[in-house]
Every structure is written in structure tokens, then in C-alpha cells.
């Protein structure tokens, strides 16, 4: 759908996902890395944990679909080449420390002088302006300052960040949306603009309703409650935290336990299954699911309900519970890991996974398919991520650089 757009991608690993998303929708995205390879290629996940810049799995994941060229934009010659590329492009995306592009003479003002229609999208931890502009923005720090960490974890231990670092990708994905908004605006104005996306803001939106609602009305500060999240008030005035994640026979499941009349049918039907397993449901035998909710339950009753559900789940595996859920519309789902998700029936039925050839590994790998399915223009992965400088020949030829000139630039370590 977006094949008419050329995007120059100067992002660091924090924002690879921005260009990847735009390329999923068909845009021509040219990843520009420094000669010898982007620093991110040398750390992270590799086959057998043996570092190899051409076998980095995070690079594979978020630079697939892109073309790749090497160019040192810190040299004068490199900057000239970059500026020539800007003349051919619709947008530049970057995630350097705020101000770095300006210091190279490649800030928005400089780029818009070369090409007034260019969109520059800058993605960072905290934004291009303001008191935190120059803050170091590692994943854990951005996540902590956004509010996401304080409410995650157990109350007897420190709050928790993520073991899988991906917080910056929320800023990156807003960068993709922001780039498209600016390209749409250009239709009216015939001018580009500067797009400023911060991961802190994107993450704050995630926790806003849970944290800011209670604070706005009642000055309440939400805290952390392990596997439970939502607070409910019981009949006896006690606050109870509705358990979200439950252990089962071979892992965990998530349960969206709604105790209101709209969920009565599902809850009743689940009770029948629990009884069939020989579990005593106690006071729940005569419970009027269609009339009662948390406010009608005492703390002792709420605890009995938890105990009953806990026993039921521990009797069964994730896949048994998934089957029950599909057949009976129980609002629960398995906490999948990678093995589970590759085998997940719904995704198989939708032919979601896409096999991508990796000659350097001697095999193909399954990638998640597109984020949407559309009637015009395939959305999703098309080919593997570029090797270092894989498209130098193609792109530099287009710019009019002869192969001798390219050789000279290579010798000078510009490309």
C-alpha cells in the first residue's frame, strides 16, 4: 500500500521496529548502518550464543523487509551522500540522542533546506525537548519513569521491569504512526515536518487508566499485587485483588473473572465443570450469578472462590483449558511461551506464520505474519533482514556513483 514512499532508517536498536512496520505496509525502507555493521549486530541473541554480526536474531526480527546500506554519516563525504539520498526520500527516521542529528548538521532544519517535503521522525526515551531530553534512556529507566514498573511485581520485593526489553518499541511504533500522519498532512501542506515520539509518553498511556483514574478522583496510589491487578470492594468493605494469572498443571493461564450479570452464564457453566472434577464448590452451589457481584461477597467467600478455581485449574493443562474455553466461552487463555504459540490452533488456521529462508543458517525460520490482513497490498514480512552493505551497489548506482567512486569510498571507510 505504501510502496510509493522511500524511508531512510537511521534508527538504533531501540527503534528498528518503526521502519520495520512501515516496510510491512510496503514502504521502501533503507536501513543505513555504519561501515562494518551497526553496533547492535554484535550483541543480543545468536545461534548457539556465538556472536556473529550476520546472525543476530534481533536484527533479523526488526530489520526484515528493509534494504541495507553502509554509510558513515559522521564524515563530510558521508553527509554529502546522505543529503543526496534525502533528496530522493519522503521520510527519515532516527533514534539517536536528541540533538545528535543537529550536531552533524543533519537536523530537521538542515534536511528541510535540502528537501522541504521531508518528514523527520525522531524517536527517543523522553522526547526532543524538556528537562529529561539529555537523560540516558535504558529500557528499565524509561519504563520506571513512565509508571509501568511501580505496579508490577510482588509487594514483598522490589517492583519489576521486563526481562524481555521492548519498552522503546512502543515509542518506535508511535513513530511509525506519526510518520504516516505527517505524510498525510503533507498532501495538504506540501511540506514535511518534525515528528517527536517518546517511549515514556507511549508507556504512560498504557498504565494511565489504572494509575491515573484512582489518583484523579480519590488520591489513591495503585500498588503491586503479584498475579492480581484489579482491586474490587467486597460486601464487608475489604479490598480484594482479583487474580489474573493462575498456575495450572503445566504452566499458567490468565482468567478474566467478571462477577457481574453479563458473565453469569459463563460462570455457571464453569461451576458445572468444576463439580464434574469432584471439587466441592461450597457456598457457590446456590450463588445467584445473574444477580450478584463482588459487592455481595465477603472476604471469606472470595477466598473460597479463589481456592475452588485454583483446584480446578491445577487439575488441567494449558491446552485442555484452552479447549474448554473455546467450547464454552470461558474467559481464559493460556500463558503461551514460544513453543505454545507456534502450535496455537487459531494461528495455524489463519496461516499466520511465514517461512523465511536464511541461507546463512542453512534453514528457514517462522516469523509472525502481518499485523493485519487486507484486501489490497500484502502486509507483513516479505524477506529477511539485509546483510551488512547488501544494497550498497543498487542504491549508490542510483545516486550516480560509479563503481570506481564506490571503491574509493569503501577504501576511505565511508561506505
Amino acid at each position: 500500500m505504501l510502496s510509493c514512499y522511500r524511508i531512510l532508517d537511521l534508527t538504533t536498536e531501540k527503534a528498528f521496529m518503526c521502519g520495520r512496520a512501515l516496510s510491512d505496509f510496503g514502504a521502501e525502507v533503507i536501513k543505513i548502518e555504519k561501515p562494518g555493521g551497526d553496533p547492535s549486530r554484535f550483541k543480543g541473541l545468536f545461534p548457539n550464543d556465538i556472536p556473529d554480526p550476520e546472525k543476530n536474531l534481533t536484527w533479523y526480527a526488526f530489520n526484515a523487509n528493509k534494504k541495507g546500506i553502509t554509510l558513515d554519516i559522521t564524515t563530510e563525504q558521508g553527509q554529502e551522500i546522505f543529503k543526496n539520498l534525502v533528496k530522493t526520500a519522503d521520510a527519515v527516521i532516527e533514534s539517536y540522542a536528541p540533538g545528535y542529528m543537529d550536531s552533524l548538521g543533519l537536523g530537521y532544519k538542515d534536511l528541510s533546506t535540502i528537501n522541504p517535503q521531508i518528514v523527520l521522525t525522531s524517536i527517543s526515551g523522553f522526547g526532543q525537548e524538556g528537562p529529561y531530553r539529555d537523560y540516558k534512556d535504558p529500557d528499565i529507566v524509561v519504563r520506571a519513569l513512565s509508571g509501568m514498573v511501580y505496579t508490577a511485581g510482588y509487594d514483598d520485593r522490589p517492583p519489576l521491569t521486563v526481562s524481555y526489553e521492548h519498552s522503546h518499541s512502543l515509542g518506535a511504533m508511535n513513530g511509525a504512526a506519526g510518520t504516516m500522519i505527517a505524510l498525510t498532512h503533507r498532501v495538504h501542506t506540501n511540506k514535511g515536518q518534525h515528528v517527536d515520539c517518546s517511549a515514556q509518553q507511549a508507556l504512560d498511556v498504557v498504565c494511565s487508566a489504572e494509575m491515573e483514574g484512582p489518583y484523579a478522583f480519590f488520591g489513591q496510589v495503585a500498588t503491586r499485587h503479584g498475579n492480581a491487578r484489579a482491586a474490587v470492594t467486597l460486601k464487608d468493605g475489604n479490598t480484594f485483588y482479583n487474580v489474573l494469572l493462575w498456575p495450572c498443571k503445566d504452566g499458567y493461564i490468565a482468567l478474566n473473572l467478571l462477577l457481574n450479570p453479563s458473565a453469569a452464564k459463563n460462570n455457571l457453566s464453569m461451576m458445572e465443570f468444576i463439580k464434574k472434577d469432584g471439587i466441592d464448590i461450597g457456598f457457590l452451589e446456590g450463588w445467584e450469578w445473574d444477580k450478584k457481584s463482588w459487592e455481595d461477597m465477603t472476604l471469606a467467600q472470595a477466598q473460597k472462590l479463589m481456592e475452588t478455581l485454583g483446584k480446578f485449574f491445577m487439575n488441567r493443562t494449558k491446552s485442555e483449558l484452552l479447549k474448554l474455553a473455546i467450547e464454552n466461552r470461558f474467559q481464559l487463555g493460556p500463558c503461551n511461551n514460544a513453543a505454545d504459540i507456534l502450535d496455537y490452533p487459531q494461528l495455524k488456521a489463519r496461516k499466520f506464520w511465514k517461512e523465511i529462508e536464511h541461507p546463512e543458517l542453512g534453514k528457514s525460520l517462522k516469523y509472525p505474519g502481518g499485523a493485519v490482513m487486507t484486501t489490497y497490498g500484502y502486509v507483513g514480512i516479505k524477506h529477511r533482514a539485509p546483510r551488512i552493505g547488501e544494497h550498497n551497489g543498487e542504491i549508490y548506482k542510483e545516486l550516480g556513483l560509479s563503481s570506481d567512486e564506490q571503491k574509493a569510498l569503501k577504501k576511505q571507510n565511508v561506505i
Partner: protein
Amino acid sequence: MDKKPFEGVKLVQLCWAGVGVYTCNYLSHYGATTIRVETASRPDPVRQFAPYAPTNKPGEPVGLERSAFYSITHTAPEMDISLNFKKPEAIEIFKKLVAWADVVAEGFPAGVMDKLGLDYEGLKKVNPQIIMFRTCGYGHTGPMADQPGFGSILTAVTMMDNIVGWPDRPPVPPSTYYTDQLSPMYASLAIMAALDYRRRTGKGQYIDHAQIEAGLNYMTPLILDYQVNHREMALKGNKSDHAAPHGIYRCKGNDRWAAIAVETDGEWQSFVKAIGSPKWAQDKKYATAAGRLKNSDKLDKLVAEWTVNYPPEAVEEMLQQAGVGAGVVASAKDIDEDPQMNYYNFYREFEHPYMGKLRYYHPAAIKLSAVETAMKRPVLIGEHNEYICTSILGMPREEYGNLWQKGIFE
């Protein structure tokens, strides 16, 4: 000259809860004329999510217009028409809206719109150029198409409930409805791309957005690692594989914490200087990343012995000034007072007829240099029934009155 990006784009949305609403916000914040179709008997469930603004009189029912949750998701200008789809006249009005619209976005489980004859084929008959965007938990085909999709469950399905936790305890959720906020960026991009494509080709289209499929696109490295190395990601608490110290450290005060990440050897030297160059920190075993990672348990204890003497704001300031990543583990109070968020004016306050003054209406997490984000308090159910019928659809006022009496709007 002052046109907004989506000026002239007409969006009809029948979206519930998180994903569809957040998705449409990206367009409505930037100029799309947006009409929400929603009734009091089948309201957006978020309207019934606590916390509620207190009522004016004791015993007065809370109703559907006092949820802070709803006002935090609905921050873009929208109009609302409360069409009762049980009445054929309401379907007729809806079809007129389809004829008027560029985009119809809906978030029901698969099948709901189809039963009303309002699937893509049905809409195309009314408006051949329409873009129909549908979002649901699992996608509109396959054995789970008609299952309701709650973010709290989809987070588990998409592996995201297995990424936060201690090695010795069960995992904890990263948030309650994580996929609700992760999948809309892809969804909005899809609508924007479809609009762009239509502008150039004249062709509308159908977009099927499965929240789990969008969510899984964030998880690709872990899925590749499993295939290549046959391993699942292990929970690490707050540790990192490549940096130490890296963690959440207790500070002075009640339940106060700071995040610290020392990512390079240079940053370690700056860190040591910033904490006053204590003797233990001179130990050579801490001079390299490999040494610090090897001794990270001991190191975490020593760092916490320093942080506990200061409030987290002081830790943040001292370390960031030294060029080391550090930040307050922000609570609701801290984010409210956060200087950076307030610099960006990220917590807007609006007057609401039922809730009074309320803070925390968020713009998009995008700042554009050439256009402001348009914002408004959440729309009330049926607030624009008359305006939409008479001014947008050109219905005579008398006809509108008759339909109103017949219970077409509720």
C-alpha cells in the same frame, strides 16, 4: 494552510474498550470527523469500569457517564449517535452514515455485524469505496473468530505474561490489558495506509486486525530464539544479560525505588565517581562488564546500600548528571508531578458535565511540529443524535422527531 492531516476524512466507529478506540484516536486527534455509534443498552463496557466520579447525591446511580477509565481512553473529538440496531429504521440511518463515511471501524467479535448485513460486502453495496476496519481478539476467520477478546487474556496468549517476574516465583502481568495498547499502532497504520492507497487508486478495502497477531509482532526475537536455540526466555527479575548494575534499588522513604542501569565501563567509572568513589567500588573485579555481571548479586547489595540514603529523585539527578541511566520508579503521584510529562503538557484537564474538572486526558504520544493534537472530553451517549441526523444527513427536523418517538435512538 491550517488544514489538519485527516481533515475531510469521515470516520464512523463502533468500537469498544481499548484497541478500536485507541486506533481511531490516532485519526480523530488529527482532524478526522468522527461519529461514534453506541447505545445505552449496549454501551462501551469501559463506561462501567471503576473508578467512577462520585455522584452528586447519595444513592444516585453512577450511570454511564462517570467512568474515569472511559475518559482516559476517549480523548479525541467525537460525535455520538445512539442507534438502536433492533429497529430497521436505525439500520437505514446507519447505512446513510456508511454512504457518508470514508472509514467504518468496528470492534465486535466476528459475526455481530455480519448478522445485521453490515459486513464488508454489505457496506460495499452502500459505498463501494468504503474502508472497513475490523478488530477483534483472534481475527475474523478461524475457529476462535467469534470469541470475545479481553486484553487481559490476549496478553497471556501473546507471550507477554511470561516476560515479567523473578526466577523463583510465578510470572506477573506487565500491565492489565497490555495488547490493548500495543496493537493499536499497527491498526491505525493500517487505516492510514488504506486511506493513502485509496487517495491514489480510488480503491477502498477491508482490514482484518487480530489483536494477537499485531501483539506477536513485538515478540519476534523470542520466537526466533526458540527455533534456533530451542530455548524459552528465562525470567531475570530486574537483571540484564549485558549490564550490571541493572536493577530497581530501594531508596529513602516508604516504598520508594530508583531504576539504575550502568551500560558501559565508562558509565561505571562515572557511577563510581557520582557515589563518592567508595573503597569497594575501586575493586578491579568491577572494572569490566564481565566482572560486574559475574558479581552482580553482591554489586546489587552494595548499590542498594548507597541508594537507600537518598530519595529516588536525588538518585536520578546525581546519576543522570554524571551520564548514568537512572530514574524514579514512578507511582501515580510521581507521574502526575513528572517534570518531563508536564513539560509536554501530557496531562490535560477538561470540564465534564458529570465528572467536573478531570485531569489526565492524554494527547497521542506523538508531537508534530506543524499541527496540534485536537482534544475533547469524552462524548455522551446520543449527544449528537439531532445534529448528525439533521445537519450531516440532511434529515428534516420533523422526521427526526418521529424517529425519536419510535425509539430509534436509545
